[in-house]
Symmetry: C2
Subunit: 375 residues, 2 copies
């Protein structure tokens, strides 16, 4: 068995596309770029390529680390690497930053050629379908006709599902992890509060904060604090923080007092320090819009009728953002079509964040599935 | 059977207390006031009085309406009135606005005698225990030695529980509805995001926005939007709003598009238009601090050992803010003490808001309990 260690060091690559890209929203980019990373070696048949799609705050740096910054380890490094569940000794793995992102691909902080200024809020609202079309062009550029697998967690899992629907001949396996076939009203509600926090921040300046040399950090911080509540499970919060007070806390005031407050504020501050507010808006909107069944009258089975991939659907027992019941909706729609589907419900205390965790059983299940993917 | 109609018209009363009140936080008010309303007639024995405690955004206007504003109907008018579950033909019902409130009782917008300016953020953080002590002084002023019942929903139910613990000889029945024995880390987390939204609003001015002739409406609006998500059930949101779009909605933008967004923003705007931000902070902090078991090493049964009231505990099936499991914690602690307790778990689609709804079965159960209270 291979040593279970990190891939890396890795390098960020950049692909420039000179063919115009038209978003579902209507806007056309004459030229655009995607940043990506690769891990492992593409085989002679080009049949061992795996695309990893990122979630709301993710990016192309999925595994490994950088020679000039070894502490910057990829967000799914525990899953992807030599001897890991997604074994880079067998597979050629591609991580990509999506259009609209804030990690190097064309997005709101890129220059709008029409104005010479950053796009800001004028960057088109981007959909999961848009991302699939953009990722397909990256696949073309890399000479990958068909992915061995497309995989992702949360919004990333939704992209894997959309790939199987939109480009059925180009994906052999779809790994749909901690996802849902569409957002509920409650999911949308949480996203809208987060968006309103950003949009009403006086430093947002209608999305053109770049030119005001400021950032809507207050709104972004609130959005992230709120998001974090939905990523964790009630039980995990109870166990990790409960009603514990900070040792240095005052009382009868509005400073940090409970440990959970300290944790959330820290997470919010950290995130607000680097993430782009316009990207946050775009990502939440892509989530809200995602509903592959909509063009089929709400019938998810009909939406999936043309899919040709085999599916691996994974949910986490304490995930209340996209609960196991939501994953089972996907499984049921696949079963109705007699598509091949493997479903695993992982018992985990980590809520929605379970998909990112280094959990032995979860990883063993993914590893078992991946071993059975032929290359 | 009495006609089932609204009490009223009613009048707001005001009680001025010239005895100093010292908060758990340490601050002393030399003089303070409570506004309250009463419905029904106190009997000769003064044995038919019921105190209704309000929740986060509630107040003393519990039932009836005002002669000069008949549309301003009390927040629990469906529960309290002639022939209603809490029958004002039998009972003398008292509604009170708590200290720290924004409806007339001494609170953050009252003048701080030390400065001649509104208290603002300097108003002491107030606890449930403080409220019980203040309400007891109102009972003294009204000549009520012992309440036939103290009742409330949510934070109001917590006050009913605390009454039974703190002043066991002064309450014969405690109706603890849609409450919990303490907040979880997740509950506190939601409150802290709401508080941070207010505290970081540039119009908050450290809580002294009154003197700046402004109000932190952006933060208050976000706090209320977030609160609303936790008051409703996922199922109810799905049924009422689902993924429905506004008929006049644009698309691919950040305006109102989904019905749930319209609803939440409307609720947020409405609330932000009138509620006091400092009161919101105080109420959420009172919730966070509430933990009657804490002085008893976390043992709720020990906290309730000295209680002499009979208890009526009610929960709602889809309440995820304070779920039925949380009510059962209270019931179990009472059973351990062999205290008299009646427990009803109401099947309701309305989530935490269930306690405010005009639900026939719920009201029948409350009515049955109330009929067995001797006066």
């Amino acid at each position: 068995m291979s040593e279970r260690s990190s891939f890396g060091p890795v390098e960020v690559r950049r692909q420039v596309f000179d063919t115009p890209f038209t978003f579902a929203a209507g806007t056309t980019l004459p030229q655009w770029e995607l940043v990506y990373e690769t891990y492992g070696t593409l085989n002679a048949d080009r049949s061992n390529a795996i695309l990893v799609c990122h979630a709301l705050s993710g990016h192309h740096h999925v595994a490994g680390w950088y020679a000039d910054n070894p502490k910057n380890v990829g967000w799914w490094d525990n899953m992807i690497g030599p001897g890991k569940p997604v074994d880079t000794n067998r597979f050629f793995v591609v991580g990509v930053n999506n259009l609209g992102g804030c990690h190097g691909s064309t997005g709101p902080s890129s220059l709008n050629p029409a104005t010479g200024q950053p796009w800001g809020a004028d960057f088109p609202v981007v959909t999961v379908n848009d991302w699939i079309r953009a990722q397909a062009q990256l696949a073309d550029a890399l000479g990958i006709e068909q992915w061995a697998a497309v995989m992702g967690g949360s919004l990333g899992g939704m992209q894997a599902l959309q790939w199987a629907i939109d480009l059925p001949d180009r994906v052999r396996h779809a790994l749909v992890i901690a996802a849902a076939p569409k957002l509920t009203a409650e999911n949308i509600a949480f996203n809208d509060v987060a968006r309103q926090a950003i949009l009403t921040d006086p430093e947002f300046h209608g999305g053109h904060f770049y030119r005001h040399h400021t950032r809507p950090t207050r709104g972004l911080r609130l959005a992230r604090m709120l998001g974090h509540i939905t990523y964790l499970s009630d039980d995990q919060m109870a166990e990790k923080f409960g009603r514990k007070r900070r040792p240095d806390a005052g009382s009868y005031g509005f400073g940090v007092e409970f440990e959970i407050e300290s944790y959330l504020r820290y997470q919010g501050d950290k995130f607000a320090g680097w993430f782009d507010a316009n990207t946050y808006l775009l990502m939440t909107k892509a989530l809200d819009y995602f509903d592959p069944a909509e063009p089929f009258g709400g019938d998810l089975a009909a939406a999936l009728a043309g899919a040709r991939a085999k599916f691996f659907v994974v949910s986490f027992s304490t995930d209340w953002r996209f609960s196991p019941a939501r994953s089972r909706e996907i499984v049921n729609a696949l079963v109705k079509n007699q598509h091949a589907v493997t479903y695993a419900e992982i018992t985990s205390p980590h809520g929605h964040d379970g998909f990112l965790m280094d959990d032995g059983y979860y990883h063993a299940v993914v590893a078992a599935y991946m071993r059975n993917i032929e290359t």
